[in-house]
Homo-oligomer: 440 residues x 2
């Protein structure tokens, strides 16, 4: 169940074909007979039966079955956000098939106001969520009158093999960096010893600054998922950030914190001590001569013990400031050691039986990644919203990934269906919190 | 992937509510808050993580999540048979979750002519396909004006624990009978020795009468499924049967044979020797003092080497006659030994690596079960068609299950998506074959 996803919602325009649905069906039928699918979309595992085979490799799928990977779906009436949420939750709750290139795209019709949506899903071993979002964005057009946009999988890219130009602070980048540092997850025992030794070398500065309380977010999870979304204008968040003297990311964390507070209060499950978020960030290490950045993990208080939204925001700002100062005083090696320490419990979650016995190192992952800045179009359909879906882990049943797009921040809440009922409310509360912060 | 299913298609009537979709949504929301789900629908495994646990048992699910089990879906436009087939194929191609009661029901809207459909899926360890169909049928009404039919899972039944009144010749009944005789699948090595010894005891009569050719139907299968359907009037089949001096089941087999011949010819994959079907039948053993029936397996030639439809039917009739005569001359014990011999390769298919190395004992399972005789209704919606979905096995990638309903025979073709492309054609050809037989 290590797949990430994206939900894209589009509105029609004057340029949009009235017969889009029929044309898409015909196009897909025609493509199914003769399509050249570009890398990475045509890549499957050489040894799907044995994922840890040392000779594992990605190879082109000789029997690529387009109709399997690209599907048309529709919402049951009335086609509102609830129906969309429940379809996308279901689709995100089924595993991908490793006998094939591990991705699926679903064109969804039957949305209210004649809108359409695309749900896209890919195993993070093929491409990470951020790269997936970038490939999808790049396959769209910036021109509302471009009616010939090809479908993303038919574009030559070769992106997967290319090095990323810039370090983007994603959970995936963190996991990769930490894995390079401490080795693969199956050596986690030895890795932890290494992390603890590294801590000693770097002195007391590497101790975890916060202690996360036990919470309902930190249980063994099921296979099923819930997904909920919220879109907030970037301007509103920037204004709140400026008036409080914090960053945009601080406001995102405070929104998540205040919404989680209300959500958990209603469930009767709010811990006394504040929830702690693990946040991937970019930092400039003190020993990097090239002035380059490194991705590191910080732990930030979500100030869920504070009721007043403004005070909550202040507490978050103070917490992230301390955490970033700590990281910036470190060498690149120390940053990785520290991030390894923070992430070790997440990697431990792959070991059966480990969850529940360990105290959580943090309660929730909140990650904020940059997205396209200008409005995008698909054959005249305007992309209104673009939400990332990520991976809950055993012990870490909620992931909040936020992505910017054309003047808005798009919050994607991916949670375990069984340990986090009513996840939709968390999304709704996030939208209400920003109003309270503006007033405060 | 050991689940069976059913596809039910309904037409609206004057009595049908115009707001059916909204009312269903509201009803399901209300039920989700407070529903008493009857046995077996509330039963889950006690040890879902370890299916072979010797203390395995069915227990009530304390956290029954109705919205997980009962779902509303819609077809992408135009909502034709092809879209319905592709949705049902997808739904049948995902495994059930053993952490919950292993069943799902999908109410499907967006069909052409304002029709609706229900797709239902259950693990055969909870209830077998025939019992599932019977429970679904019993939950419907014989009265077109009964608008209060409760949803099937809210009806008190306790059916699963009840003994079946009559022996119905299903694949499941066969598998159970054979398992009682030769033990569980993991002891298959010893079981086969037992079967071969039994053969010796019963003499040469127990030798398999037919040798099945290798074919594309008999490969290792994938996780994905294709499903196709055909409905033929019972009267037409009866007339053909009477004029040829065969049974209804003979005509069903001949239809499957002629359609498979054309399907495989087009794929360039028709074996020289005729395909062999394994058919569960009811027989009266010679030693049963009570005159009771036993379920046995016969092997019948599908006469796919014969082009002329009438000659094909004659060849099938001769083949099933011989096979049934052989069985009727046996004691009940011998029938079970013989059926064990026939089914052993199907049970061997659970053993990794066994498929492909063994010659198939037969090519396809064709099973024909009785269904409701009078038209049924769900809140004024008339049930037009009712198709069974069954289980393909490794080495046996196609299952044809036929069920009667209110004057029609409903053919459900469940196949492996990857080894059997264009399965839809097989269904179409079945409908055309009967015309040729009528003319002949």
């Amino acid at each position: 169940m290590m797949h990430v996803g994206a939900l894209l919602e589009f509105s029609p325009s004057k340029a949009t074909s009235k017969d889009f649905s029929r044309e898409l069906r015909e196009e897909l039928s025609a493509l199914a007979r003769s399509v050249t699918v570009a890398s990475p979309w045509n890549q499957r595992l050489l040894h799907p039966e044995m994922l840890t085979n040392p000779l594992q490799a990605w190879v082109p799928d000789e029997h690529f079955d387009l109709e399997y990977h690209v599907r048309r779906s529709a919402l049951a009436s009335p086609g509102d956000e609830r129906e969309l949420g429940s379809l996308v939750s279901r689709l995100h709750g089924t595993p991908l098939d490793f006998q094939r290139p591990p991705w699926e795209a679903h064109f969804i019709e039957g949305l209210e106001k004649k809108r359409i949506a695309i749900y896209f899903k890919v195993h993070h071993a093929l491409i990470d969520g951020y790269t997936g979002m970038r490939l999808l964005s790049k396959s769209l057009s910036t021109d509302p009158n471009d009616l010939d946009t090809p479908l993303f999988f038919a574009r030559a890219e070769g992106e997967r093999r290319r090095e990323r130009e810039e370090q983007v602070p994603t959970l995936d980048a963190l996991l990769h960096a930490v894995r390079d540092q401490i080795g693969v997850a199956k050596d986690i025992g030895r890795a932890l010893v290494k992390v603890v030794r590294g801590m000693r070398d770097h002195g007391p500065k590497l101790a975890l600054p916060l202690q996360a309380p036990r919470s309902v977010l930190n249980q063994k999870i099921s296979r099923s998922r819930r997904f909920a979304t919220q879109q907030i204008s970037l301007d509103r968040i920037k204004r709140v950030a400026a008036s409080a003297g914090g960053t945009l990311n601080d406001v995102v964390l405070a929104i998540c914190g205040a919404a989680l507070r209300r959500f958990l209060l209603e469930l009767g499950e709010l811990p006394e001590r504040p929830l702690v978020a693990m946040v991937p960030v970019n930092v400039r290490p003190k020993d990097d001569p090239g002035g380059g950045n490194a991705v590191g993990a910080i732990l930030a208080s979500l100030a869920t013990d504070v009721e007043d939204p403004r005070k909550c925001l202040d507490a978050v700002i103070a917490s992230t400031k301390r955490a970033k100062e700590q990281l910036q005083g470190m060498s690149k090696g120390a940053i990785m050691q520290y991030s390894g320490l923070v992430l070790a419990p997440l990697m431990l979650s792959f070991i059966p039986g480990a969850v529940g016995r360990l105290r959580p190192a943090f309660n929730v992952v909140v990650s904020n990644v940059p997205g396209p800045e200008t409005p995008l179009y698909f054959r005249g359909w305007r992309l209104d919203e673009m939400y990332p879906l990520s991976i809950p882990f055993h012990g870490y049943g909620l992931n909040i990934t936020v992505q910017s797009y054309a003047g808005s921040l798009n919050f994607g809440f991916t949670g375990c269906r069984d340990t986090l009922p009513h996840l939709q409310r968390l999304a709704v509360y996030s939208g209400e919190v920003i109003e309270k912060m503006e007033r405060a």
